[in-house]
Symmetry: D2
Subunit: 334 residues, 4 copies
């Protein structure tokens, strides 16, 4: 039984808490949050205690921490936790600043502790199934990957301002998905964006709609479409064209009901947002983390993966700003 400290009792921390508690080999012993109320509520619900992050990290009885705090604290907590000998599951992104993230990697690695970054979508059973089918050669060589990733509604502009922008905040999941599918970092990134959904987002210097193309070695391409608003909910799809065919992961719908009337045939919408759509993915993510920490299988998402996605995001932001393709090796990793 692994004893777990949860840093961060917000929305995503609450999702993880349920899975930590439900897992037969993990136990939630401590919760921290900068606000007392959510921490206490969560601790009480699951029989844990409220403690400071420092205290949790320093406690030798705690085996692993889950970092679900605001982004700007991730790198510091990662470094402290690994230094203290903890296994860590850290929510994405590692940091909004690539340099800081690279430093974090350099400081954490020597401790040799298991670190996993929370790219939850890799654990979605549908996407995992698509990836497995691709790896088994079911569509031959991968040529053109398409990812559709729309949120139901834009976040408040106040959030946009501190989010790092659509590429680092939202598309980063899709960049990880593309790198994972191809098993590589792209060579070039080309992005465009606009703020057609909410002009205030544009005034804040960000986009709400964007298209990014990634060029991988050998002529392999990925294209990622992002929008901060799909009136019908959360649109999360993948299509992968290969030399022998196409694999598609369609949306998960709210139910299987179809109604046919004089007005047409109506089915349900996609699951509304990530809490619904990825509920099972979060469970599987936690299972994978536990298995990885126990050495039963390698950790499926590394800190390096987290940084790679950030590298692509950095390149995309630069590309969209300057209206040209960005060479990752020469301009981002130089």
């Amino acid at each position: 039984m692994l004893k777990i400290g949860l840093l961060g009792a917000g929305r995503i921390g609450q999702v993880h808490a349920v899975n930590i508690v439900a897992h037969p080999q993990s136990e939630l012993v401590a919760v921290s949050d900068k606000f007392d109320e959510p921490a206490e509520k969560l601790a009480q619900m699951h029989g844990a205690t409220v403690r400071s992050s420092e205290d949790i990290i320093a406690d030798p009885a705690i085996d692993a921490v889950l970092i679900a705090t605001p982004t700007d604290t991730h790198a510091d907590l990662l470094e402290a936790a690994t230094a203290a000998g903890k296994a860590v599951l850290c929510e994405k992104p590692v940091d909004l600043d690539l340099k800081r993230a690279l430093d974090c990697l350099a400081r954490c690695e020597p401790h040799g502790k298991p670190i996993m970054v929370g790219f939850n979508r890799r654990f979605d059973p549908n996407f995992a199934h698509l990836k497995a089918a691709f790896d088994q050669g079911e569509i031959g060589k991968g040529e053109l990957l398409s990812i559709t990733s729309f949120d139901p509604a834009p976040p408040p502009v106040s959030y946009v301002k501190v989010s790092g922008g659509i590429f680092r905040d939202m598309a980063i999941h899709d960049f990880d998905m593309a790198c994972w599918m191809y098993g590589a970092l792209p060579d070039k990134v080309t992005a465009i964006g606009s703020s057609i959904v909410d002009p205030e987002i544009g005034k804040a210097g960000d986009f709400d709609t964007a298209v990014t193309t990634l060029e991988f070695s050998g002529g392999r391409i990925a294209v990622i479409k992002n929008s901060r608003r799909a009136a019908y909910g959360y649109d999360q799809r993948i299509e992968f064209l290969g030399s022998d065919g196409l694999l598609a992961a369609h949306n998960v719908l709210e139910n299987t009901i179809e109604k046919i009337t004089a007005h047409g045939a109506t089915k349900a919408k996609p699951e509304h947002f990530f809490l619904e759509r990825y509920a099972k993915a979060y469970q599987i993510e936690w299972n994978s983390f536990i298995e990885g920490v126990q050495g039963a299988s390698p950790l499926p998402v590394t800190l390096k993966d987290g940084i790679n996605a950030l590298v692509v995001a950095e390149a995309a932001a630069l590309s969209a700003r300057e209206g040209r393709s960005v060479d990752i090796a020469k301009e981002i990793l130089r």
Copy 2:
């Protein structure tokens, strides 16, 4: 080039006329109808002449006739046309009275002329594809066939009264489909019905909603669902459960558009009624008739097939009336 006489210039006669004219090996030379106006209009449109049925049948220059007149004239015209040496394509049903239909068969057969009954659905590319897949063993042994067959709206009660009833008028297509799929006549027929769509139909002694089960040798079953009303249009589907799987022919939709909004994901309705849904089937039916008459391939629907469907309809009507299963060999064909 086969010279064709068309008997009957109503809705279905008009459909056939277009296909006769469009076929490179058939020519519409004469049209008859008990009403002058539609006959003249149709003849004029396609460069044919209006003549009486007797005259058309007697003309040695005419190779084949297509009987699209009211049902109660089918048997007489069939007999006259085959006696006169014509090949015949006759709309279903042969006659509402089984005994009359059997007499017709007995009188027509000796002439040895090609006769085909217009079970258009056999020529629907989807149903034909399903049948071919089944015959190729793609689902193993056939066990349970389900046919959904709903019209968009009930006919006027005046028509219902002379229609022969839902089993002889509407379900007869589905009975033919079931016999065709299994390549056999059923042993037993069990039917129930109600007049929930329009009580006036019930007062006229008919049903508007019915379910018929057919038991074929070896325990093979078919179930046919009929309704005179589907608010969304013409519902024409087949599902065939076999030992190795299931084959389904879904409806043909009006288009491929899907609209997804906060209210759900809406697709098009099925094609509205038989003229739209079976437009292609009627073309292929005519091609098959021409090929059969020219000896290029056997006629795919025989007069015997037309009578078999009527036998099932007779049994279904008796079953529904008496609330019990009807044995075809003992009670209908005795």
Copy 3:
């Protein structure tokens, strides 16, 4: 917190145990089974104790029992448990013998304890959604209900012999679904069956493939198709034709992946069997039972409902045996 005794530690008992334990307001305190091993294993896994059924029923500290024992013990345990003041959730069927089930109802009712029969499918979110849409009038008046209910593979003949037959054992779920949808018991039942899947099932006096039609007041019809074998898994669908349209509950597929190659476009099969397909339904069923026992809402499935389904099954078996429609009021409930 309700203290629960679980009678029966077999496959379905194990499913319930997990949900009892996971529910915040129920606690699994005791397990009984005629075999020691499964009872001990289950009790240990969930921190409960193994006791005899009698002991559990007699224990005043236990609030409710869940009866998941072999069918022939259901009625006795129901009577004993309600007499001892327990709330009861009893797996279907109440008894294979209708008279015995009616006696049970007569004996249990006076105790006034909450009794719910485990028709899990009512709690399937898709079917529940369909029912709600129907009740809200989305397709107008219900006219023709169709239920497809196929198992992935036939049970062993040894089971078939004690099962009560396909109508009491398997179709009973669908009969409950039909009664629930229409909110009524049918007037007439007409069924046919065959043993085409496995002739040994026929030799044992049962069918493996059956079609049952139910006639409800006002001309409303339901048709139920059952097969003990669908090579592709568990096929559980409903279609409801109403005056204004059609509602369909499609199968739940294993995933959302589609692969398109030169051989066609392939999607996943339906969830394999009831444990997968109805996992969520069992959870919701348990929630509903707890809410009902606590008085928060009425119990959604009563003992009377369980008996009604049995009445239909009795009529179906008689109908299939005698090749005629069976009048429920005159022949079954007389």
Copy 4:
């Protein structure tokens, strides 16, 4: 009855010939081709005569010509035909060289004759339905349009070399579709490409896989995915995200059959290539041309539209070559 001269008796000329002949208000009187055999075969099949292009254009009895010759002859023939007072339907593209195309426009316009460019996809009933739904505001303001356009197999490299490249030859259809949907020419074009399908295509200086993003005024975006190879056939889809939802035009499948076995649920592939997929579109296109020439409705695709698509193609080719976004007003139309 309009008398039509058909210039070009190749594959696409043959498609048009059938529609010209079938239309009640057009008559195919003359055919030209640089090769005698196809011209004679086509003329004979449809009762037309073989003549030279010059002769056809000079004949005052001919009302309209359809230009289906090789691309490098389009502009000259357009100019000659309009100068001779003919209405013209010209296959795309107007010319591979934008300057030449602009000159052609300048020379043709003064004659005031109806000219239509053959962007057949606008007449596909599905895309037309999507466009109409969009124009009626069914998804609100258009924000992100996605076009998937894959051919079943790459053309021979010999063709690639004279094709003008993937943007002018293949994507031009999609560029027209995007301009038509938004009712505008984009401001900026950004494209990338690779030759992963066939490296020989790369050696010939072209791409076989490409992604183009178009930026329209107000932040509206279109993204176009092209591949010269989809192992499953012709993939032609559109998705349009708007402020209120999404409209999608799915592929047209070969049939409606679904087969479900232990290996999954398989449906048909898309229609194989443009002759099958767009058969109906070519008919409707011809109808629209006839209506336009007769003044019944404006011509739905103008010569200007043909040039606009070429402008976008020019920009895309430049963008892909230089790895940067291209400003249409400043760089292409300067």
